[in-house]
Chain length 321, copies 2
């Protein structure tokens, strides 16, 4: 459904994206897509002004990138190949058109990188800027999805990339800094789509790290009904994160959008070789244990005093912290 | 992707819906759905506080109903069978849990009526309440979708139900009234899903009336590259709408969520018989003409002074009017 005042906004926004190759594209009441061959993975996620970004710190391109990236990260964690998305924008009435173009450009560049097609959109007016995306990916025919629930005791835990940088980036922004590698990680998370598809051939379970390893590992353990042992010394941290947050701070770092994967021990060496060939950085950080309570322990056998992790509802808003 | 503060909210919200019969339901990073047999119709639409509803005039159940109804109406206009939806809620921090339960109940009741399954959701905090839904329907295998673009000169125009009531309902609310049939039409639009599936066997083009007949007919004419002639005397109006708005006011009535359908003349009699059998009320209101400029004229050959139609971006907000 489109309303009249939207038309030029929608056309302007869509003009930044290639016309999707589907039976009916944007502009009608619905997009029409050919039947999918494999199973479909569906996710919906929103970014809201002053919660997930501020206009002062994020360029329109950053906002458009992040809105799509958080959805692609969910597809990555299931091992899905990105296929299509729809984008609902809520815009303040005075939101400048050049900034809308910037959002479209940031989103379109990331969409092109991952071969995902924008097939529909919607505009509404609102007091604060927000972008809600629903994205769909496809699993190769006959492939099982990589869920949170498949982990077994003894599986080795891996994380991709490095942890805690997005959180450090947010702290730096709050402290008045405007340029640093960690700030880029906060503004432009890179969804691990290729790694997710690779991992789906080896891993028993996976999820993407949006709330911090401590909390997200808890979700994996709960879904798989296992416990876990973490080696805090092994966490992949940049020197800046090690100095500013330390391993326990990095555990609570939200918005990393790295993948956490559980790999059965008999497959770890082929998995590691495959990652090496694909130039995907992964690090062993622990293993799953038979603890049915989902307890997480450090390598020294003590339950660590884990920080609470990242929680938009409990902490203050990004701009108000 | 779920964040920690969301968990109990999401579980509470989902508990009002039946567990969908899909390979992976809500709770993981993505829902996983079996491949669709027919083509998929996808739409995304949002309702925003003080734009599409106010908390003073709409019960939580009304809000939940309307948020899903506007999406189902888009599926209806394509002739699709509703299959699944995802729901992203943006909630003020102090939004009461019983009210959230009311939203879920209103949405769930309508979902049950139309056999559509909630497969995923997302919560974020926000200053104003809004609900963004992405819904998917399926076309029977081998069926063409009913788009806006298939109309041909000579096709007969039909509308379902009656026009202008939702607009009248809004005026009554603004005037301090709280109970009237027209107010119910404003709060609880009924998507014409069964009629849309019936019409897809006979009609050449269709869309749902969200912006008022004047404006939406203009969209159909533009997409089909035809003009139209409207018989203002034939518009189906309740006595209350006739008295309060008249035919020209009803033309501009937004949010009716009735269907506008173009039917080739050789199929009108079978179409009308099929509607009669199915107890779907439809009314002939005009026909498409060869005017490539998309002009709309009344039966007397003059271009009517058509009101502008319903436009959230140009008019004031619902609560501020």
């Amino acid at each position: 459904m489109k309303r009249a005042g939207e038309f030029s906004l929608i056309d302007f926004f869509l003009s930044h994206f290639p016309r999707p190759r589907v039976p009916v594209g944007p502009g009608d009441d619905c997009a029409v897509l050919a039947p999918s061959r494999g199973a479909q993975c569906i996710t919906t996620d929103a970014v809201v002004e002053d919660v997930h970004f501020t206009r002062a710190w994020f360029s329109p391109e950053d906002i458009g990138h992040k809105a799509l990236a958080v959805n692609l990260s969910d597809l990555a964690s299931m091992g899905a190949r990105p296929r299509w998305f729809v984008c609902a924008l809520a815009l303040p009435r005075d939101y400048p058109r050049p900034a809308l173009g910037g959002i479209a450009r940031g989103m379109s560049a990331l969409a092109r990188t991952h071969g995902i097609a924008l097939v529909g959109g919607n505009f509404t007016s609102a007091r604060e800027l927000s972008i809600t995306i629903t994205a769909a990916g496809e699993l190769p025919r006959g492939t099982a999805p990589l869920t949170r629930a498949g982990g077994r005791p003894g599986d080795v835990l891996y994380v991709s990339g490095t942890l805690g940088e997005a959180r450090l980036g947010l702290s730096l922004l709050q402290a008045g800094r405007r340029r640093a590698p960690a700030i880029l990680r906060q503004k432009r998370p890179e969804p691990r789509v290729a790694l997710g598809r690779l991992a789906s051939r080896y891993a028993s379970a996976a999820l993407d790290l949006s709330d911090g390893l401590a909390q997200d590992l808890g979700h994996l353990c709960a879904a798989s009904r296992v416990g876990a042992e973490l080696d805090l010394e092994a966490l992949p941290l940049t020197p800046a994160v090690r100095a500013a947050l330390g391993p326990e701070g990095a555990l609570a770092g939200g918005e990393d959008y790295e993948l956490l994967m559980a790999v059965p021990p008999e497959r770890t060496s082929v998995f590691e070789r495959a990652c090496l060939r694909a130039e995907e950085a992964v690090t062993r950080v622990g293993r799953l244990t038979p603890d049915a309570m989902g307890r997480i322990r450090t390598g020294r056998g003590r339950a660590p005093r884990l920080p609470a992790g990242f929680d938009h509802f409990r902490r203050g808003r990004q701009g108000a912290d």
